[in-house]
C-alpha cells in the first residue's frame, strides 16, 4: 500500500481554528497547478510501489476547476503506477460545489468525497468561520450522491464553546440522516498561531472543561456506534468497511509521497516536509529543487515507536508484527499495567491485536506515552 497526497493551499475564507497551510489568494491557483504538476513529475520515481490511494487535501481542493483537477490527475496517471481500484479522495467545502463540478470530478476518477459539514447550527458555523450554511451542506451531500459518489465522508466538530449535549446531538441526528459512509469527528483544538488561539488567549473564548469535552466525545462515539459505524481511529468511523484507505497508510506506518506547499511525505526511512509558503515552494520547484523545508531519517528505533503510537490510536497494535519484525513482545513489555488497562476496559486484547475500547480512545494520549515508554525500555533492554 502506498499513498499519494496533494496539498491544495487555497480557501475562499480561512477558518478560525485551522492550522493547515492555506491562503485566500485564489487568483494564484492556475500557477499553483502548473507548479504542482512539476513537483509530481519530479517526485514520481520516488514512489516506492503501486499507489493505492490518492488524497486531495487542503485548504479547499474543491476550489480547483474540473479542468485543473483533470490536469493533475492526468499527470499522476502518466507519471506513476497506480492500482485500478485505488481510492481517490477529494476534500470539499460544501459552499464551493455544484452538481456539474461534482459530476466532472467523478468522471475525472475521484471516487470518494469528504465534506466539512462540522455543525448544523448557524451560530456554530459562524463561530468557526465556515462559508456555508447547514442546508448547503445537506444539499452538497445530496448532489454528491446524484453525481454518482458511493463513498462519502462527513466531518463534524465537537467541544465548541458552550456546546450542549443536545445541540451536538441534533447535529449528529442530521448527519446520520445523510447516511454517510464515513464520519470524522474532531474536537475543537486551540492551535497556536490560529485566530481562535489568539481569541482564547485574550479570554474571548473559553475552552470546554475536560469533563464536558469527555461527555461530548462519549456521546459522539455512542451515537455513531449505535447507528452501525465502527470506530477505527480516535476520530474516524466507517460503515460497511468503508474505512479511509489513505489515512490508514498513515496509521499503519506505510509510505506516502506528498506534493504541494507544507505537505508531509514518508518514503523509505525518510519523513520530509515541504516549504510552507506558496512563494518559497514555487521558487524551489521552478529552480528544479526539491521544495522541502526539511527531512529526517528515521532510525529503526523511531520507526518502531511510530508504529506503536500510530496503530494504537487507530485499529490496534499488531502484536505479531512487533514480535516477528522487531522481536518485541508488547504484552510482556507493558507488564502489569496491561492488567489494569484490561480491568479498567481501556483496551481489548486478542492473539493478534491490542486495541483501544471507546473508553480507551478517550485517554489515548495517556496510554500512548506509557506504551511508547514500555516499548522503548524493551528495546533498550534487548
Amino acid at each position: 500500500m502506498t499513498g499519494f497526497y496533494i496539498h491544495v493551499p487555497f480557501c475562499d475564507k480561512k477558518c478560525s481554528y485551522c492550522d493547515f497551510y492555506s491562503i485566500e489568494s485564489v487568483g494564484l491557483i492556475e500557477r499553483y497547478v502548473d507548479t504542482v504538476i512539476r513537483e509530481i513529475e519530479r517526485r514520481a520515481d520516488t514512489v516506492p510501489g503501486p499507489i493505492t490511494s490518492v488524497f486531495f487535501g487542503g485548504g479547499t481542493p474543491s476550489l480547483l476547476s474540473p479542468l485543473q483537477l483533470q490536469r493533475i490527475i492526468d499527470t499522476i496517471l502518466r507519471e506513476t503506477r497506480i492500482t485500478s481500484d485505488a481510492e481517490w479522495t477529494m476534500e470539499c467545502n460544501p459552499g464551493t460545489v455544484s452538481l456539474s463540478s461534482l459530476t466532472a470530478y467523478r468522471s475525472s476518477g475521484i471516487n470518494r468525497l469528504s465534506f466539512g459539514v462540522q455543525s448544523i447550527h448557524a451560530d456554530e458555523l459562524t463561530f468557526l468561520d465556515r462559508i456555508h450554511t447547514a442546508d448547503q451542506a445537506f444539499e452538497a451531500v445530496d448532489l454528491a450522491r446524484r453525481a454518482g459518489f458511493d463513498n462519502v465522508n462527513v466531518d463534524v466538530m465537537f467541544a465548541l464553546p458552550n456546546q450542549s449535549a443536545e445541540k451536538l446531538s441534533a447535529t449528529l441526528d442530521q448527519i446520520l440522516r445523510l447516511e454517510p459512509d464515513h464520519v470524522s469527528a474532531y474536537s475543537l483544538i486551540y492551535e497556536p498561531g490560529t485566530p481562535l488561539y489568539a481569541r482564547m488567549k485574550k479570554g474571548l473564548v473559553v475552552p470546554e472543561s475536560e469533563e464536558h469535552d469527555a461527555e461530548l466525545y462519549a456521546l459522539v462515539i455512542e451515537r455513531l456506534v449505535s447507528a452501525g459505524y465502527e470506530q477505527y481511529e480516535v476520530s474516524n468511523f466507517s460503515r460497511n468497511g468503508a474505512t479511509c484507505r489513505h489515512n490508514l497508510t498513515y496509521w499503519h506506518g506505510l509510505p506516502y509521497v506528498s506534493v504541494g506547499p507544507s505537505a508531509h511525505g514518508f518514503v523509505g526511512d525518510v519523513r520530509y516536509w515541504n516549504l510552507r509558503s506558496l512563494t518559497a515552494w514555487t521558487e524551489a520547484v521552478d529552480k528544479g529543487e526539491l521544495p522541502e523545508a526539511n527531512r529526517e531519517r528515521l532510525t529503526q528505533f523511531d520507526k518502531i515507536v511510530e508504529l506503536a503510537f500510530l496503530t494504537l490510536r487507530a485499529d490496534g497494535v499488531p502484536l505479531s508484527k512487533f514480535h516477528r519484525d522487531y522481536g518485541i513482545d508488547v504484552v510482556a513489555a507493558l507488564g502489569p499495567q496491561l492488567g489494569y488497562w484490561l480491568d479498567a476496559e481501556f483496551v481489548t486484547l486478542n492473539a493478534q491485536t491490542l486495541r483501544l475500547t471507546s473508553k480507551g480512545y478517550a485517554v489515548c494520549d495517556e496510554l500512548t506515552v506509557k506504551l511508547v515508554g514500555a516499548i522503548e525500555s524493551a528495546l533498550l533492554a534487548s
Binding site: G57, D213, G265, V363, D365, L367
Partner: protein, 600 residues
C-alpha cells in the same frame, strides 16, 4: 605595621556595601573605571550578584596616600550578608581591627546590622559609622532620624558620622581618612611563633585549597611546615601572598598581614574557618579563641529526577563540597524517590544556593524534599537518636521524648507592627523574650522560636506582614522537648515516605488539611481516582481525592505530519520520566515541595 589597616564593612542587604567597596577600590586606584564594567567586584559569583548577597568572603588590599603624607596599606575583608553564615561573619570580623558601619539614610538600622555590629563591638573593633545614600531625595526627611538611631546605638558623637553616597562618590575620601585615623594599626610580633586565623578558603582546581588568613603573630613563608591546630594536620607551604584584585605572590606574610597560602591541600574540609595556623616545629602557645565546627541545621533530600543519574549527582555533590565545606551529604533511599542523598545546610538560603548551583553549574535535574531540622529523639531504652529525615522517626511506642532545636530570633521593625509580629511568632509556637525601643518608632523584639517553624516561610511572612519593614536575625539556642508527631501522606493507601513531616500535634490537623488540598492541586489526574490521606500513625486526620482523568487525546487530524506527533509524545514521555511513581500514582516533582507553598 604602623601603616597597615585591616577593616570590614557591616551593612544590611541593599544598604550599599558592595557599591561602597567598589568605590574604595576605585579611589585607591586598585581598579580603574574601565574594570568596573560588571560593577560590584566583590560579589563575583553570578548567584551573589543576582541575589545581592555575599556568600563567599573576599579580601582586597589597597594602597592609600593619606592627607598626612604617608602611604597606607588597607585590607578590606568582605563579610557574608546573611544569617545562615553568621559564624563566618564572626571569623572575618576577628581578622579586623575596625569596621565601617554602613546604614542607608532612608532605611535606618536593621536587625542583621545590629547583630553583626554587636559582634564587632564585642571583638573590640573600632566602628566608623557611615550614613550612605544621602543623595536620595527621600533622605531629606529620614536622615535626621537615622543619624539619631546610629548615635543612640553606638553612643558616638554626631561629628563622628560620615555622610556619604557610594553611588555618587560623595564622602569616599572622608571614609578612607577615617580608616587611617581612627582604626588602630594591627598589633603583633613578627618574631613570635606564628599565629594566623583562617577566615575563608576556596578550592582551586590547580593548586588545591587556597586558604585566606589574617596573621596575628609571627611570619609564614614558602616551604614552612605548618600545623592546623584544630584538625592537627600538617602541610608544607607552596605559595604565600597577599590579595590584590587577584592573588599576588609575595613568598612571605607576617604579623598584621591579610593574605593567602596554598599547601597542596586536597579537601576544603581540612581547612576549617576559625582554625589557627602555626608552624609545626615552633607552635604558638594557644589557638585563637572562638573556633567551632560549623554544623548543618537544615536538612533535605536531594534526588536525581531520573534515577539513572544517581552517580552523576554524587559526583556533582562531591565537587560542590570542594568549595563549600558547609554542605554535608550522605546516601539515603526513599520508596518514592529511589536513591538520593540527605543533605545538610547552614540554613534555608544556603540550601537554595546549593540547589541552584547543582542545577546551573553541574547541570543536574534534581528533586528536593521539604527541608526539616534535626530532631533529638530519646528512646525508651535510653538511647539518643538524631533524626534528620522524618521518615526515619521510630514509632511512638519506643519514643520517650522528641526534642527540637530552638533559636533566639531578633526582629527589628517599626513599632506599628508589634502586634502583627507577636501574632506571627505566637502562631509559630514562639515565646517573647523581650522588647527594646530603639527609638520612638522602632522596636527590637526577641523571641524564642522552634527552628522548624522558621525554616518554612517565616521570613517571607514576616516581610509581607510588615510591608518589608521588619528585619530578622537569629542564633541557635538549644534543644527542647515538644509534643511532636509524624504526619504521613498516603496516596491510594500507600505511604509516600518523602512527603512525611514532623509537626506539632496541635497543628497536625490543619497541616494535614492544607497539605492534602495542595497535593490535589499539584498531582495531575491519573487514569483512576486517587485518594489522598494525611495520617498520624493509623489515624487519618485529613483526606481529599483527585478524580480520574476523563479525556486525554487530541482528536484531531494531523494530516501526514507524524514527526510532530512523535516529538509531542517524546516531550510528554520526558515529562513522565521526571515524575516519581508510588504504587501506580505518578507524582510530579513540585509535589514534594508542596509544604513550602501551602498558603499560596
Amino acid at each position: 605595621m604602623e601603616k597597615f589597616r585591616n577593616f570590614c564593612i557591616i551593612a544590611h542587604i541593599d544598604h550599599g556595601k558592595s557599591t561602597l567597596a567598589d568605590r574604595l577600590l576605585e579611589k585607591t586606584g586598585r581598579v580603574t573605571q574601565r574594570e568596573m564594567v560588571t560593577n560590584q567586584i566583590l560579589d563575583d559569583n553570578p548567584l551573589e550578584q543576582e541575589r545581592g548577597i555575599t556568600i563567599k568572603l573576599h579580601a582586597i588590599q589597597m594602597e592609600y596616600a593619606a592627607k598626612n603624607g604617608s602611604r597606607y596599606t588597607l585590607n578590606l575583608i568582605d563579610t557574608p550578608g546573611h544569617v545562615d553564615f553568621s559564624y563566618e561573619v564572626s571569623r572575618s570580623l576577628h581578622a579586623c581591627e575596625g569596621a565601617l558601619l554602613v546604614v542607608d539614610a532612608t532605611q535606618g538600622v536593621e536587625a542583621q546590622t545590629i547583630s553583626n555590629l554587636y559582634m564587632a563591638i564585642e571583638q573590640g573593633l573600632e566602628i566608623i559609622p557611615v550614613i550612605n545614600k544621602i543623595d536620595l531625595p527621600s533622605a531629606v526627611t529620614t536622615i535626621e532620624n537615622v543619624k539619631r538611631q546610629v548615635i543612640d546605638l553606638l553612643g558616638c558623637k554626631e561629628e563622628e558620622l560620615i555622610l556619604a553616597s557610594a553611588k555618587a562618590g560623595i564622602g569616599i575620601e572622608d571614609i578612607l581618612e577615617a580608616v587611617v585615623d581612627r582604626i588602630p594599626p594591627p598589633k603583633g610580633d613578627p618574631n613570635a611563633p606564628l599565629r594566623a586565623l583562617i577566615y575563608d578558603s576556596i578550592f582551586d582546581p590547580y593548586r588545591g585549597v587556597v586558604v585566606n588568613v589574617r596573621v596575628f603573630d609571627g611570619t609564614m613563608k614558602e616551604k614552612d611546615k605548618i600545623l592546623f591546630m584544630a584538625t592537627g594536620q600538617t602541610y608544607e607551604l607552596d605559595e604565600v601572598g597577599i590579595l590584590y584584585m587577584k592573588r599576588h605572590r609575595t613568598g612571605v606574610i607576617s604579623a598584621g598581614d591579610v593574605g593567602y597560602f596554598t599547601a597542596a591541600i586536597r579537601r576544603l574540609q581540612d581547612t576549617k574557618v576559625g582554625d589557627t595556623v602555626t608552624i609545626a616545629s615552633n607552635p604558638c602557645a594557644a589557638a585563637i579563641e572562638g573556633f567551632r565546627e560549623v554544623k548543618p541545621m537544615v536538612f533535605s533530600g536531594i534526588y536525581p529526577a531520573d534515577s539513572d543519574d544517581f552517580e552523576d549527582l554524587r559526583e556533582a555533590l562531591g565537587k560542590l563540597t570542594l568549595n563549600d565545606a558547609a554542605i554535608s551529604f550522605e546516601p539515603e533511599s526513599s520508596s518514592a524517590l529511589g536513591f538520593g542523598f540527605r543533605c545538610g545546610f547552614l540554613g534555608l538560603l544556603h540550601m537554595e544556593i546549593v540547589q541552584e548551583r547543582l542545577e546551573r553549574e553541574f547541570n543536574q535535574t534534581i528533586v528536593t524534599t521539604v527541608p526539616n531540622v534535626r530532631y533529638r529523639v530519646l528512646r525508651t531504652n535510653g538511647e539518643v537518636l538524631w533524626v534528620d529525615n522524618p521518615a526515619q522517626l521510630p514509632s511512638p511506642g519506643v519514643i520517650t521524648e522528641i526534642q527540637e532545636p530552638f533559636i533566639k530570633a531578633q526582629i527589628i521593625a517599626p513599632t506599628e507592627y508589634v502586634g502583627t509580629i507577636m501574632k506571627l511568632c505566637i502562631e509559630r509556637r514562639g515565646t517573647m523574650l523581650g522588647t527594646t525601643y530603639l527609638s520612638a518608632d522602632r522596636v527590637d523584639m526577641s523571641f524564642d522560636l522552634p527552628l522548624a517553624e522558621v525554616v518554612f516561610d517565616f521570613y517571607d511572612k514576616l516581610k509581607s506582614n510588615t510591608r518589608g519593614y521588619a528585619s530578622l536575625d537569629y542564633e541557635y539556642s538549644d534543644y527542647k522537648a515538644g509534643d511532636l508527631v509524624r504526619l504521613d501522606i498516603l496516596l491510594n493507601g500507600e505511604q509516600v515516605d518523602a512527603l512525611s513531616s514532623i509537626v506539632h500535634r496541635q497543628k497536625a490537623h490543619e497541616w494535614g488539611k492544607k497539605l492534602t488540598s495542595k497535593l490535589k492541586e499539584l498531582i495531575p489526574r491519573q487514569m483512576f481516582e486517587v485518594a489522598i490521606q494525611a495520617a498520624i500513625g493509623s489515624k487519618i486526620v485529613a483526606r481529599d481525592s483527585i478524580s480520574a482523568m476523563r479525556k486525554n487525546v487530541l482528536a484531531k487530524c494531523y494530516g501526514g505530519d507524524i514527526s510532530r506527533k512523535r516529538k509531542l509524545i517524546e516531550k510528554q514521555k520526558e515529562g513522565k520520566k521526571r515524575m516519581k511513581q508510588v504504587g501506580r500514582v505518578e507524582i510530579p516533582q513540585e509535589a514534594f515541595l508542596a509544604v513550602l507553598s501551602l498558603d499560596n
